[in-house]
């Protein structure tokens, strides 16, 4: 049967599912992708770039959108930007991706972000965008456009921003500032001219051989743009298949290159210029001046003052290709002209722009584009945010950390250490040489041929690096460790070192370390010429040593130090740190002569370092640590919640018995709260106990009680009843008459539709305190099945307010129940009769003044019924009031002093039993001749006292004795077969209800029109 209880939850469930499916379907953006070829000038000729435009549905000439140029990274082509392009198009931008020269199916050769080639191409792409009707224009030929790129794409973006004023926003992730510094760094910053740096052999060989091999030799998802790590599956639908790149080694323009199996042309698709630079650098391991010039021409350094577009710079803190200093210098140069710039450092290495990009990159990019391309409102992002890896939380600051500037060392906070020959880093408080050991020279050798070399990191290995055992080769390095720190130290900015390096002699020369002369300036200021002191090539690492001995190479950073004017005191600047050194951790400085990631010297030289007495010092830039405490909203929320709770509790206490009052009030006349009423003038108690009782309110006074159910059935219809003290009132009526419903309302279990109920003068409502004087048995027993009968009674008594167990009169109640030892067994083992007796005992707990019993004899045997009868009579005599409801006439007649007859929810009559039925008695006499008997009796009795009843006569005797009846009949010769008294109440009942005798016999009522819908009795 489908009724309300079934289809409502089903309908709700169906509705929820429909809403969810609808949301998913609606959330799918509608994007059109069109690929195109863009022709760009290449010297005197032209070449074609492979590009694609992602257009959101709804973009048109009437609704132009801002545009985004997505540049890709160094491995792969525009197909790597596909996911992010779709996502940005879904956000409402018109997105253009293209394969740079020499990548994918674009023509040309890789010029490595050549301003005259690749960067000039960007201008042409912007022209294409400006011609589109669905792109928003700031001016004729000037679209509202941003450029977004990572790694190679970032450099492209920054150089393009410097060269192309039409760009309105820039997002550059993991980009470079100076390509020569990134590929061949040298930590030395002075004094004098700085020697050329040491080539990052690992990275450069990886990058330069990449384009000589097929694209799928490397991770195809490692593209250059900040990707979407959580692609909407609905957008990975039909789109143009990314076209496979040309065969490796096949040049679209320029001459044919060497191809064929096993013969890889190392130049691949690089331009001749770049190829020559690489080959030269790879052979010598050193950047020549011409090579440096080529790389500097392709670096944003020195060009960024022309950038007017607001720029977002993102960098991974563990990036070993382009470290944090690169991004900081970019930010400083752009900010110097007042252009808005935001610098964000995130956890991760160079791989953050690869397939496994992060949520942060996506959020930052979206927010930046929204703000600057769409004039979005929103809180201004702080200028600089870095990520405290140990706490996994981002920290904002107003400005990037300061780079070194000679004049203002004093303004910064520094944590200064001195490197001592005893292998310890001693903290210095600013006072020079608080602890000094006698200076000593430490000799480090570098292996001939450059192997074995220390292993610190692998380029591009990203997250795997933590699992590699970093090794330092004995004899090649010196590791100087501090004592455990007493407090956390947050390091932000570039550390500086001063190192005193002695001579560095090749292995076949006599080892004769020169004595340290820190006061003599070096003789030869020109560092590029190998002089008598030789060349020093060292690698400096900072390591965080935990209390349990595990080490972390801070930012995976290894800084090469190369100097050729020896012996000398070198000023070294290490790459920027964004790191919190925790208390109990130790800092270790490792200076080694080799490192796998760099180009190592092969001449097997030995180098001497001077330690102690201020010869070697390390200064770390420190900022104040901010420990996030409990946030204010949490505290405020808790305080508010507690205050609200307290207010509620206090108001409940003051408002008396609480919630039930406002809703359960029974009195429709508007008597709010607890109205105590005096004697009820309408009471027809007929009580013979004297007028004193009339001054007290009657135990039960019901007026006009009506209950109509939601389906319209009228269960109780203007019911009036008054029960006086000491009365045992029987509520008599067939099933369905509304007896139980009335009792429920009397006890506060149901709410009447109309009418008033007063118990001891108090308006009844659920949980009213007057219920403490009431005991009830309604609709059968109800107990916790697993507990014993005794436990049930005890817990029940104690659940009702603050009443002590002594008041319960438990022994007396248990005596009434008469269960014996079964009282300690669980209730679920009881029979129905036992439960009924226990329920009666529960109602009797505390000897209540008013007892309300609904069908109390149900399930009891005759012996117990008789016992109950006696009990109720006794209670009545003691002054207790009892209200018993039943449909069994004989019971009511035997148990009660008063009776109220109910039918179909209406009260038909109420009063004393004897008053109700009159003074006479009735007997039924069966004779062999009814008519003659009737005539005989009519002579003696009043007319109307004789009626036919079945086969015999019902005779109302009045004052006569039944013996007289016998005498009269026998005197006439009639034989008497039977003489039985007829229930008086039965008479009254029958006359009142108008029901034939057979229907009111003891037993179950037929379920007919008189019985209402189920459960209403």
């Amino acid at each position: 049967m489908i009724d309300r209880r079934t289809w409502v939850p089903v309908a709700v469930a169906v509705a929820i599912v429909a809403v969810i499916v609808g949301l998913i379907l609606l959330g799918r953006p509608d994007i059109e992708v069109a690929s195109l070829r863009v022709t760009v000038p290449d010297g005197a000729e032209q070449l074609e770039l492979d590009a694609a435009v992602y257009r959101p549905a709804g973009a048109s000439a009437d609704d132009p959108r801002p545009a985004v140029l997505l540049a890709h990274g160094f491995l792969g082509d525009r197909s790597g930007s596909d996911a992010q392009a779709r996502r940005l198009a879904g956000d409402g931008f018109v997105v253009m991706t293209w394969s740079a020269r020499g990548f994918g199916s674009s023509g040309g050769q890789v010029g490595l972000a050549d301003p005259d080639a690749e960067i000039a191409d960007v201008a042409r792409l912007i022209d294409v965008l400006a011609e589109r009707p669905d792109v928003r224009l700031d001016a004729v030929g000037d679209p509202r456009v941003a450029i977004v790129g990572g790694s190679y794409g970032a450099g492209t973006a920054l150089l393009a921003a410097a060269q192309e004023p039409r760009l309105d926003a820039v997002v550059a992730a993991a980009g470079w500032h100076s390509l020569s510094r990134s590929l061949a760094p040298n930590g030395v910053i002075g004094p004098g001219e700085v020697a050329p740096g040491v080539l990052k052999a690992g990275w450069t060989s990886l990058l330069f051989t990449a384009n000589a091999l097929p694209a799928d030799a490397f991770d195809p998802s490692a593209s250059g743009t900040p990707p979407d790590p959580d692609p909407d599956p609905s957008t990975l639908g039909p789109g143009p298949e990314p076209e496979p790149g040309p065969e490796p080694g096949v040049d679209l323009e320029g001459g044919p290159r060497a191809v064929g199996n096993g013969g890889l042309d190392p130049c691949g698709r690089f331009s001749r210029e770049i190829c020559e630079v690489y080959l030269e650098v790879a052979r010598s391991g050193v950047l020549t001046a011409s090579a440096r010039a080529v790389l500097d021409a392709r670096s944003p350094a020195g060009r960024l003052d022309a950038v007017t577009a607001p720029t977002l710079l993102l960098q991974g803190q563990d990036d070993t290709l382009f470290d944090l200093t690169e991004s900081r210098r970019n930010a400083e140069e752009i900010a110097a002209t007042g252009t808005p710039v935001r610098l964000r450092w995130v956890v991760g290495g160079h791989e953050i722009v690869g397939g496994a990009g992060s949520d942060e990159l996506r959020e930052e990019t979206d927010a930046w584009l929204d703000r600057w391309l769409r004039d979005g409102d929103g809180p201004e992002a702080p200028a600089f945010t870095w990520t405290d890896r140990a706490a996994d939380v981002a920290r904002d600051r107003d400005a990037p950390p300061d780079g070194p500037s000679p004049g203002d060392r004093g303004a910064r906070q520094v944590l200064a250490f001195e490197l001592a020959p005893d292998g310890r880093l001693h903290e210095r408080d600013g006072a020079p040489s608080a602890v000094s050991d006698a200076p000593r020279s430490v000799t480090l050798s570098s292996p001939p041929g450059g192997q074995p070399a220390a292993l610190s990191s692998l380029p591009g290995a990203g997250a795997l690096v933590g699992f590699l055992p970093a090794t330092d080769i004995p004899g090649q390095h010196v590791a100087i460790t501090s004592a455990p720190l007493t407090a956390d130290a947050t390091l932000l900015g570039p550390p500086t070192m001063s190192l005193q390096v002695g001579s560095s002699r090749a292995g076949d020369e006599p080892e004769e370390p020169a004595p340290p002369e820190p006061d003599d300036p070096p003789d030869d200021p020109v560092g590029t010429v190998l002089d008598d002191g030789g060349e020093a090539r060292l690698f400096v690492k900072l390591t965080d040593v935990a209390a349990n001995g595990s080490t972390t190479l801070i930012h995976q950073a290894v800084t090469p130090v190369r100097a050729t004017s020896l012996p000398g005191e070198l000023a070294v600047e290490l790459p920027d740190l964004a790191y919190r050194l925790r208390a109990d951790h130790r800092l270790r400085v490792t200076i080694a002569t080799t490192d796998q990631a760099f180009s190592n010297r092969i001449d097997g030289a030995t180098t001497s370092l001077v330690l102690g007495d201020g010869a070697a010092q390390l200064q770390l830039p420190v900022v104040a640590s901010v420990t996030p405490g409990v946030r204010l909203p949490v505290v405020a929320g808790i305080v508010l919640a507690v205050a609200a709770l307290a207010a509620v509790v206090v108001s409940r206490r003051r408002g008396g018995t609480g919630w039930g009052g406002s809703s359960g009030g029974v009195d429709p006349v508007g008597r709010a709260g607890d109205g105590v009423v005096g004697p009820d003038p309408g009471a027809a108690t007929g009580d013979a106990r004297g007028t004193a009782k009339l001054r007290e309110p009657p135990p039960i006074a019901i007026r006009g009680l009506t209950k109509r159910y939601a389906d319209g059935h009228l269960a109780v219809d203007a019911f009036d009843l008054t029960v006086g003290r000491g009365q045992v009132m029987g509520l008599l009526g067939p099933n369905g008459a509304g007896k139980t419903t009335s009792l429920r309302m009397l006890l506060g279990l149901s709410t009447p539709t109309a009418g008033s109920i007063r118990v001891f003068g108090h308006d009844m409502r659920p949980g009213h305190p007057v219920l403490g004087r009431v005991g009830a048995l309604v609709e059968g027993p109800g107990f916790v099945p697993e507990l014993s009968g005794l436990d049930n009674l005890q817990l029940y008594w104690r659940a009702g307010g603050r009443r002590s167990p002594d008041e319960a009169e438990l022994p007396w109640a248990l005596g009434v129940a008469d269960l014996g030892s079964a009282i300690r067994k669980p209730v679920r083992t009881y029979s129905h009769g036992m439960k009924q007796r226990l329920a009666i005992a529960q109602a009797l707990l505390g000897r209540p003044e008013l007892l309300v019993l609904d069908e109390p004899t149900d399930g009891l045997d005759p012996e117990q019924i008789r016992a109950m009868r006696e009990l109720l009579a006794r209670l009545g005599d003691e002054g207790h009031t009892v209200l018993v409801s039943s449909h069994l006439l004989a019971e009511v007649e035997q148990m009660c002093t008063h009776v109220a007859v109910v039918q179909r929810g209406r009260l038909l009559a109420s009063g004393r039993i004897d008053e109700l039925v009159g003074a006479g008695r009735t007997v039924v006499v069966a004779t062999d001749d009814r008519d003659r008997a009737r005539a005989v009796l009519a002579r003696h009795l009043a007319p109307g006292s004789i009626e036919a009843s079945g086969a015999g006569l019902a005779v109302t005797l009045g004052d006569h004795d039944p013996a007289d009846l016998v005498t009269w009949l026998v005197a006439e010769g009639l034989r008497i077969h039977a003489l039985t008294p007829r229930g008086k109440l039965e008479d009254a009942f029958l006359s009142l209800t108008g029901a034939p005798a057979s229907e009111t016999a003891e037993g179950p009522e037929p379920i007919g029109p008189r019985g209402g819908p189920g459960g209403v009795t």
């Binding site: 420990t627 429920r744 309604v778 109800g782 029940y796």
Partner: protein, 267 residues
């Protein structure tokens, strides 16, 4: 309230529920010990704690807490709060409890308080039993977390804070189960229905296509307690999770009290 507590404590389902959830860490400990040193967390571990479970007793307690938090604890909470009122209705004893000089709201409040108390006990039993089993199996020691190492003292404090957060995060389950139990007469309906709702909400939380709607689901911030293991502990991350429970709890409880006060008790 003591009376109500006694009433509930002696029931079989209370004892079995508490014993059941307390036995989960013991079973896990046996599993880890038997599977040898090669045990790792396997798939489906969002916290990174499963790999470190055998490092020490405290680690194991943390891992058991993490394991029971997403579902089992919520199911037990639903059991303790969803069963209270409707089971009384099904036995027929609810009407007798209401024919007392005690307002309906106070009765309801007592029942809810006892349900919550039992839920808290259940939530505490998990780390306690995990601590006992873990210490027996793996020894006592400092805690290794994905963020580093914690000493024993602070780790115990963090564990307590994590349990408190998890208990609060189950407030919505308690509220909805309780409200349901005031509506229905069948305790199975309230408890099982709430458990099904928990599962459905967890599934919804995993559907990323719903976007920002997911952030309003009450289970969305369930795993934010991981921040408490960091050094220094990230209290602020839990803010949203704490506030997220408030509307659900107040809505469900408000409905339960309002409905129960007006209801005709027909059971």
């Amino acid at each position: 309230m003591i009376v109500e507590l006694q009433r509930q404590l002696r029931r079989r389902r209370t004892v079995f529920g508490l014993l059941g959830i307390a036995s989960v860490p013991v079973i896990l400990a046996i599993a880890f010990v038997l599977s040898g040193d090669g045990a790792n967390g396997g798939g489906g571990d969002p916290t990174g704690l499963f790999d470190l479970a055998t490092a020490s007793g405290l680690n194991f307690a943390l891992m058991s807490t993490a394991a029971t938090a997403p579902f089992l604890l919520l199911a037990v909470v639903a059991l303790f709060t969803g069963d209270t009122v409707s089971s009384e209705a099904s036995w027929g004893s609810l009407r007798y409890l209401l024919v007392r000089p005690v307002p309906r709201s106070r009765l309801l409040a007592r029942k809810f308080a006892v349900g919550v108390l039992l839920s808290v006990v259940a939530a505490l039993l998990v780390p306690l039993s995990g601590l006992a089993a873990g210490t027996l199996a793996f020894g006592w020691g400092e805690v290794q977390t994905p963020f580093g190492v914690l000493a024993v003292g602070p780790a115990l404090g963090r564990l307590l804070a994590i349990v408190a957060y998890l208990v609060w995060s189950s407030a919505w389950v308690a509220g909805i189960a309780f409200a349901w139990s005031t509506v229905t007469d069948a305790p199975v309906g309230a408890v099982a229905g709430t458990i099904v709702l928990v599962i459905v909400v967890q599934i919804l939380d995993a559907i990323t296509a719903l976007g920002t709607l997911r952030t309003f689901l009450p289970v969305h911030e369930l795993t934010a307690w991981i921040g408490l293991l960091a050094s220094p502990p990230q209290w602020g991350e839990l803010t949203r999770g704490i506030l997220l429970q408030v509307p659900y709890l107040t809505g469900a409880l408000g409905f339960a009290f309002w409905w129960f006060a007006r209801k005709d008790i027909l059971s």
